[in-house]
Assembly symmetry: C2
Amino acid sequence: MSVKIIDLKANVMDDNNILAENTRKRLKAEKTFLLNLMSAPGSGKTTTLSALIPLLKDKFRIGVMEADIDSDVDAVRIKEAGAESIQLHTGGMCHLDADMTTQGLDSFDSASFDLVILENVGNLVCPAEFDTGASKNAMILSVPEGDDKPLKYPLMFQVADVVVINKTDFAPYFDFDIEKAKKNIHMRHPDIEIIPICAKTGEGVDKLAAWIEKEIIEWKK
Amino acid sequence: MSVKIIDLKANVMDDNNILAENTRKRLKAEKTFLLNLMSAPGSGKTTTLSALIPLLKDKFRIGVMEADIDSDVDAVRIKEAGAESIQLHTGGMCHLDADMTTQGLDSFDSASFDLVILENVGNLVCPAEFDTGASKNAMILSVPEGDDKPLKYPLMFQVADVVVINKTDFAPYFDFDIEKAKKNIHMRHPDIEIIPICAKTGEGVDKLAAWIEKEIIEWKK
């Protein structure tokens, strides 16, 4: 007996990839750089943005799209840091896809910004699977999570264009070996840029700002 | 024009719920208590189990099923703590469902254990959506993640039967207010038991062991 097998997941992924490519073309035409920021829950995405925005806001028009299953605590904090922000409620979804991202960009007038940052759902698995249409992907690994995370969540480290190691001031207390973390990250993604920061004190955030600035200038060419 | 709409997700969920109920009946008949342990990446699931197993292994036959997208670092650590363990590779899946759990139980001879612990994929979203067939659900919230996590990941705190707050020794350094965390957790799940621990020093782990012992005795009645 032969049955027709429909690979639903592959179709969903194909549709998403097409939409993501279209979103990237639109953003390129608008000269708007979209950074997709991913991490586990509580790695410090919002705190990092709060430290980052003051370093960039005089050079670039910045908008932030905050994805959250529920609540709006993050969008309020971003407004306080000096960027425009909207909250995207995912209604229980574990990730953002290209369609949800486009809805956010539409409601937000993306062409009026040089830099839009998408704060993805806190999750090291699903967001890595779905291309949002972003210009570049950034991910944050925080010290208390452990230096072994690249071994356990390989795809996230493969799709990232830059890895930020946050809460570095706690490295001695959590037996987190930065060199070992770098080795594990490079095993998944050779030559990827790794930027250690402490978002709370601001240490290293200037290096992340410089990386983003370089990428924005490249994108606008 | 009328089209037939098939709600795929609802069907998947219904099938999973039926299988999960069957798994629970089987475990009840076998007098095997299955604890589904969930948390964000790096919250200390394996470290907690390493501290917990020595307190329970003389009273109960313990097996641990370690779910991981890749790698076997956790299964090795659990063996060192003195429990039998197997590694379930999820192949990129963001959660375990009842079918994967049953496959693990089958390959493991679940009837030969009093307590089987399922260490779920590190993720605060997807594992909460899928009933694994476990007797009870436990989740770990670690201090560096922040006391606001129940606001952002409501379902996880609703499906949990006990919340363990880990890395309590770091509370002063992370502005983590334990009373505020408890209030946020109880907002999502009134009256749920909350057990603060420090898995690394072992502080409070005896209270978690006592909770599990009470639940095993109840399950075997």
